[in-house]
Symmetry: D2
Subunit: 134 residues, 4 copies
C-alpha cells in the first residue's frame, strides 16, 4: 500500500447548502480533487491520460459522513491507495477538520478503461500508483 | 417498504466533465433531488423541516457506477425507502437511462437529527415515509 | 431577431446556499442549459459541435439579479437571440417565477471559435440560429 | 477605493466541462469566494452576517471572459471595492493565470438587505469595507 498523500483545503461558502453545511455531493468533489493531485504527485496527469485514451473511472464509492464541515472550516483530505487484483485500485480517503475531528471516511474503487471501454490498467501506471508494495 | 417513486430528468451539459460524461459527484445531486421530491410527495418539505429544527442527514452512501450518463441523456431516478430500526432510513435508489440500461445503483442511509444534533426521527415522519409497512 | 424559446425548470434544493436561496452562480447554469436546449431545438448539438472543432464560447455576460429563487420555486427561462455583426451572437434571457415575477435578466454575448481559437461563425450555423431575420 | 486583495487558487478538474475548460458559471464561484475571503480579512464573516439578519446580495454582475482557464492552471483572483452612493458597493475583480495573462474581468454590484428585504448598508460595515477612502 502506498504512503499517505494529503491536501489541505478550506470550505468555500458556495459549497454550503440551505442546512448551512457543506452539501453531501461536494465531498465527492473534494475526494476527486485530492485523488487527482495525488496522481499528479506520482507523475500521472488526469487530463493528459484522457487525451491518451486512458480513462480512470470510479466504479464504487462508499462514503461515511461523520460530521458536517461548515463555512470557514479548514480541512485535510488524505489518500492511500492499493491494488486489488490486476484491474482494481482502492483509494482509502479521509477528511479531517484542522481541529482534528473526522468529517468523512471513504473507500473508492476505481479502474482504468481503455479506448474501447474495457478495464485495463497499464503496467507502468500501477508502478507509479503503488510502487513495489503490491 | 414503501412503493417506488420516480423522477424523470435530463442531463445538462454543465454537469459533464472533461471526460465528456456526467461527473461522479453530480449523481449525488440527482439522488438528493429525487429523495427531496419523494419526501415532498409524502407531504414532507425539506426546507420547511430545517426551519422546524428537524434535520434529515445522510450518514452513509454506497454508490455503484454502472454506466456513464452522457450529454443529452434522459434518465429516471427511482426511490424506495424502508426503516432500519427506529432511527435509520434506508433509501434504495437507481438511475436508468430512458433506453433502459442501468447507470447507477445506490444505498443511502439517513437519519434525522433534532436541534441538539441527536438522532431522533419523529413518529409522524415515519408514518409519512413508510406508511404501515414497517 | 429570433422567436422566443422557453424552458420550464424547478429549483433543486442543492442549488440553494446558506442564505436559503439559489446561489448566484447557479443562474448561469440555468441560462446555459436553456441556451443549449434552444440550440438543440434548432438542430445544433453543443457536444457534437465541440467534437467537430466548432466551439461556441461566451465572451461577456451581464446579469441583473431581480429577485431570488427559493427552494421549490418553479420557473421559466427564456431565450431570444440576434446577430451583432458577423461574429457575435447576443442572447437575451430572462428567468421568471411561475407566479410571474421576474427573477433575472441577462444579456449574454457569445461567439464561435474554430479549432485554431479564432472567432468564426459558420454561415449555416447563423441560418439555424436566427433564420432570415438578421 | 480600497486596496487590492488577492487570493491564489488552482483549477480543480471537476470544475471543467466537456469543452475541457473551466465552465463559465464556475468563475462566479471563484469571484464569490474571493469576495468572502476579502470580507473576512476586514472582519466581516458572511455566514455570521446572515445569522444577524444582514444579507449582502449581488444585484448585477458584468463578466468579461478573456481566456479560458484549463486543468492544472494556477490563478489569482483580485478584489477592489468602492462605494457608489450609500447603498451600493462595487467590486472590481480580475482573474489572472499565474503566467500573467488575464482570464476574466468583472464588475459586481452588491448591496445589503436588512431582515425585511430593504437595501440598507450598516455604517460600521462601510467603514470596514472601504475605510476612509470613500
Amino acid at each position: 500500500m502506498s504512503d499517505d498523500f494529503c491536501l489541505d483545503l478550506k470550505v468555500r461558502d458556495y459549497e454550503c447548502d440551505l442546512q448551512g453545511v457543506v452539501n453531501n455531493a461536494v465531498y465527492q468533489n473534494y475526494l476527486e480533487h485530492a485523488r487527482h493531485e495525488f496522481l499528479l504527485a506520482r507523475g500521472l496527469d488526469f487530463a493528459a491520460l484522457a487525451a491518451q485514451g486512458v480513462f480512470p473511472v470510479v466504479v464504487r464509492a462508499e462514503l461515511d459522513f461523520k460530521r458536517s464541515l461548515r463555512p470557514g472550516d479548514e480541512f485535510r483530505v488524505t489518500v492511500r491507495c492499493e491494488m486489488e487484483g490486476r484491474i482494481r485500485v482502492i483509494f482509502w480517503q479521509e477528511i479531517h477538520r484542522r481541529e482534528g475531528d473526522l468529517a468523512l471516511m471513504a473507500r473508492i474503487v476505481a479502474t482504468v478503461l481503455d479506448s474501447r471501454g474495457r478495464p485495463k490498467i497499464p503496467e507502468g501506471l500501477i508502478e507509479k500508483l503503488v510502487g513495489n508494495r503490491r
